[in-house]
């Protein structure tokens, strides 16, 4: 089969880069990130400053936490669009609960509570996907509407402008404070640690546990995985539970960073997160994806949405650029799979 190709002139540099990208799609994402950074830095050399780096990291936290959950679901061959609704519900309901009933609750109780609440919703998604034998996209569109409607109808619509002290403190806590030469003070928020912990936990689960291997097995060829003794029910419960859990956490981080609990927030962010994960090299059809790639995808989306303003590209044009990147990456990844 190999010796019949007519134009086989030995692997060139391009070919080798192509093959490498085939094996490690996240390298392509990295290339896009670097190109974007170089492009912006040429247009505006001020961009390469510590405060901008901090800003990008800060803006990546909530997206990144969401994306880790979505990665697990996508890797297992599913899709979840309800996680933003779960996050909105958990953050708003929990803020309300803490404000009205337990004003002194510390953040180390609030975060686990949010995680548990989110996980409970996620597990319901997993149960429904399994029991109804319905594509997870349909199931999670349904639960998304349900959760959102329930939140706005029965919990409330009023904004919490004064969030509880523990959350406020958590949002303000800083890891590094940087005094720039021009007098600008910028801080790296402690919430970044949540993303680091989330990313590490997700990496550990995906790469170092039987569950992780089962997730990829189920996402690649579910029929064979089942035949080999992998319990797909556990896999579904777990990935949707994990996506829900992280959504709950992301919700609280979102409130803490914005110092505002708005039940209308986060809606519509689903596609952007899924796009970030796919840009990071995960296949929408399941069975692949890495934590590093996903983080790069998140950084890329954040760069485009937060930094292009810096060089005078109007915010209305950002979506087009993200769209172009997605088309480009999608095409490249599709070609790689065909080869």
């Amino acid at each position: 089969m190999t010796d019949m190709t007519l134009t086989n002139s030995g692997p060139g540099v391009f070919r080798r880069i192509w093959d490498l990208m085939g094996r490690r799609p996240e390298l392509f994402t990295l290339a896009l990130v670097i190109l974007t950074v170089i492009g912006v830095a040429i247009a505006n050399p001020d961009f390469l400053a510590v405060n901008n780096l901090f800003d990008i990291l800060r803006a990546s936290v909530v997206r990144g936490i969401f994306a880790m959950g979505v990665l697990a679901v996508l890797a297992a061959g599913g899709i979840d669009v309800s996680f933003t609704a779960i996050a909105a519900f958990v953050m708003y309901a929990l803020t309300m609960l803490v404000t009205n009933v337990f004003p002194g609750m510390p953040i180390w109780v609030i975060l686990p509570l949010a995680a548990a609440g989110g996980a409970a919703f996620g597990v319901v998604n997993g149960l429904l996907v399994h029991a109804l034998r319905t594509p997870s996209l349909i199931v999670t569109i349904g639960t998304q509407y349900f959760i959102r409607s329930f939140l706005l109808t029965f919990i409330g619509t009023a904004l919490f402008m004064n969030i509880p002290a523990a959350m406020d403190g958590f949002g303000k806590a800083s890891l590094i404070t940087w005094h720039g030469t021009n007098g600008v003070i910028s801080t790296l928020p402690a919430t970044v640690l949540v993303l680091v912990a989330t990313a590490f936990a997700t990496w550990f689960i995906l790469e170092r546990t039987l569950m992780g291997r089962a997730i990829f097995a189920a996402g690649g060829t579910p029929g064979i995985a089942e035949r080999l003794g992998f319990n797909l029910f556990y896999v579904r419960l777990f990935v949707f539970g994990w996506a829900g859990l992280l959504a709950g956490v992301a919700g609280i981080v979102h409130v803490a960073s914005n110092r505002l609990a708005n039940p209308f927030d986060l809606a519509g962010m689903e596609l952007e997160i899924i796009a970030a994960v796919v840009l990071g090299g995960a296949k929408i059809t399941g069975g692949s994806g890495t934590v590093v790639g996903t983080l790069l995808g998140v950084v890329l989306i954040t760069l485009v949405s937060n930094v292009l303003v810096f060089i005078g590209i109007p915010s209305t044009l950002q979506l087009a650029i993200i769209g172009a990147f997605i088309l480009l990456a999608g095409t490249i990844f599709a070609l790689r799979n065909r080869a």
Partner: protein
């Protein structure tokens, strides 16, 4: 992790596996009627029978993929206890040391070699629980040990390689290595030689011999008796959900087994008599498609039946797809009736009068939950328009009724869903669909895959009649007797080229097989993986 070998020695006389009076029904259909089989440790068995005789159901029960409806299973003389009698369960079967290498190999294509070989071991150890750490060190160690026994590389680069980058023969060995890693006591192989070259088959058989020497029981599902004769052992022959005989393969000939399988003398008579061959219809010149086939040239005349065969990677399947416009060729010309045509899509092929009956009727051909009528009339809906531009139900019904009468489809009515029909009848519906476009050229890809002998006969007669009516027919198939019985000429493909053009009357099965398998001296299996780099 698995029953101790010591125990089996203690019980001594008990066979490794005994199934007694197993029955299995799906809805009202009895797939297995009271089957009892005994497998002794360290012996090899060949499970033979026609499609639909129940052999795959039997394997699924033995491997725990499906529970039996009733009956008992004994391992080492001890009756297994499941929720239902005769239900091993997937993990239960693995625990008993029963490993199945299905025809699709059941490998996880997106995982690494090491994971495919050794992951299930860790899963069994964890009793199916997934909340366990992956023991990477143990994974590589177990995998390397097992791979060594099938003489595959054991370095880290090979261990971490994704399965979907490996050639088929290597994957087969990986699947066997998985069985070895699981310290299998029974390895079931479902038609393991189907798409291998002869050299690869010989290599596989030598690996199997080593397994037998180690006391492993092997159950081969096969229809190629010649290939496995050198292994010896018993043939277990099934027909209509029952075991009809057991024979020693070394002393039994093919005709006898064929007779036992079908319950009648199999006629090897040619269906092709007095062909009425007309002018050239299809003229293919220099047809190429990267990685699949190169520079194919051949012609088919009106009323002629051309067979095309070759191994799985010979390019025969791709040729079928190119002729039907599903995956167009990249270079070369196709002429139909002297006029050059570009078959860039199935729609164009249909416009040019090319009908294509795909290999996998279930996923590529039929809309299973739709009615016969919907399936048959699909390509000609335009013609069935009434005055208002709507589809005339009356015309559609008439057309599909004509087809099913013509093709002797056994169905109560044209409104029943296609999935309620038997394989042979489904295939006839599919052929009927393409006859509605009144094709000049009919391309049949594996026309009798999964079809019982009776239906096969009907389908062959239909093919002959179509050719007699002046249609040009191309049959692409790996079923050599089918080609020999039906075709005028047979093209043999190998590695993307046509290597022989036989008159069907002047060649036999073995001659064709030699031609299709005899490749250039292939590389030693140990470094077969290099081939995959492409």
């Amino acid at each position: 992790m698995q029953p101790q070998p010591a125990q089996s020695q203690k019980t001594g006389t008990a066979p490794f596996l005994e199934i007694r009076n197993v029955r299995k029904s799906f809805g009202g259909v009895q797939a297995l009627k009271d089957v009892s089989v005994t497998l002794q440790a360290g012996q090899i068995y060949h499970l033979m029978g026609e499609n639909g005789c129940g052999k795959s159901t039997l394997i699924k029960i033995i491997s725990g993929a499906q529970p039996a409806t009733s009956g008992q299973i004994f391992i080492d003389g001890v009756q297994t206890e499941g929720e239902v009698a005769g239900d091993l369960g997937a993990i239960g079967a693995l625990r008993a040391g029963i490993e199945t290498v299905y025809q699709d190999l059941s490998l996880l294509p997106n995982l690494s070699v090491a994971e495919n070989v050794a992951l299930t071991g860790q899963l069994v150890e964890a009793d199916g629980s997934l909340a366990r750490r992956l023991k990477l060190g143990a994974l590589y160690e177990t995998a390397a040990k097992a791979l060594e026994q099938v003489h595959l590389p054991t370095d880290r680069a090979f261990l971490t390689r994704r399965i979907d980058t490996l050639p088929l023969a290597t994957r087969q060995l990986v699947a066997i290595a998985r069985a070895i890693a699981a310290e299998a006591r029974l390895v079931i192989m479902d038609e393991p030689t189907t798409s291998l070259t002869r050299q690869e088959v010989n290599y596989l058989l030598s690996v199997v011999r080593e397994l037998l020497d180690k006391g492993v029981t092997v159950l081969f599902v096969t229809h190629k008796l010649d290939e496995v004769k050198s292994l010896g052992g018993h043939a277990i022959i099934m027909r209509d959900g029952q075991k009809v005989a057991e024979r020693d393969v070394t002393t039994t000939n093919k005709a006898e087994i064929g007779h036992l399988m079908t319950g009648r003398e199999i006629s090897e008579a040619r269906y092709r008599t007095e062909p009425k061959i007309g002018d050239t219809l299809l003229q293919v010149e220099g047809l190429s498609q990267a990685r699949a086939f190169t520079n194919l040239s051949f012609t088919v005349r009106k009323g002629e039946i051309l067979g095309v065969t070759g191994l799985l990677d010979s390019g025969r399947n791709e040729l079928a797809l190119a002729l039907s416009g599903v995956v167009p060729a990249e270079r070369g010309t196709i002429r139909l009736g002297g006029r050059s045509v570009a078959l860039r899509s199935p729609a164009e092929a249909i416009r040019e009068g090319v009908g294509y009956v795909p290999e996998d009727r279930l996923t590529e051909g039929l809309f299973l939950e739709k009615s016969i009528q919907d399936n048959v009339t699909l390509p000609v809906l335009n013609r069935l328009r009434n005055f208002f531009g709507m589809i005339s139900q009356r015309k559609a019904r008439k057309l599909s009724e004509d087809q099913i009468t013509d093709l002797q489809v056994v169905a109560p009515d044209v409104t029943v869903p296609v999935q309620s029909l038997s394989g042979g009848n489904q295939q006839r519906v599919l052929i009927g669909r393409w006859l509605t476009i009144e094709p000049r050229l009919l391309v049949l890809h594996g026309p009798t895959v999964g079809v019982d002998v009776g239906s096969k006969d009907t389908i062959f007669r239909i093919i002959q009649r179509l050719a007699d009516d002046g249609m040009a027919v191309v049959i692409i198939s790996d079923d050599l007797p089918e080609l020999l019985q039906n075709c005028d000429r047979i093209l043999v493909m190998r590695q993307g080229g046509i290597v022989a053009d036989y008159a069907a009357e002047e060649v036999d099965e073995d001659g064709i097989y030699q031609t299709m398998a005899a490749g250039p001296a292939t590389e030693a299996p140990a470094n077969m993986d290099e081939e995959a780099a492409q």
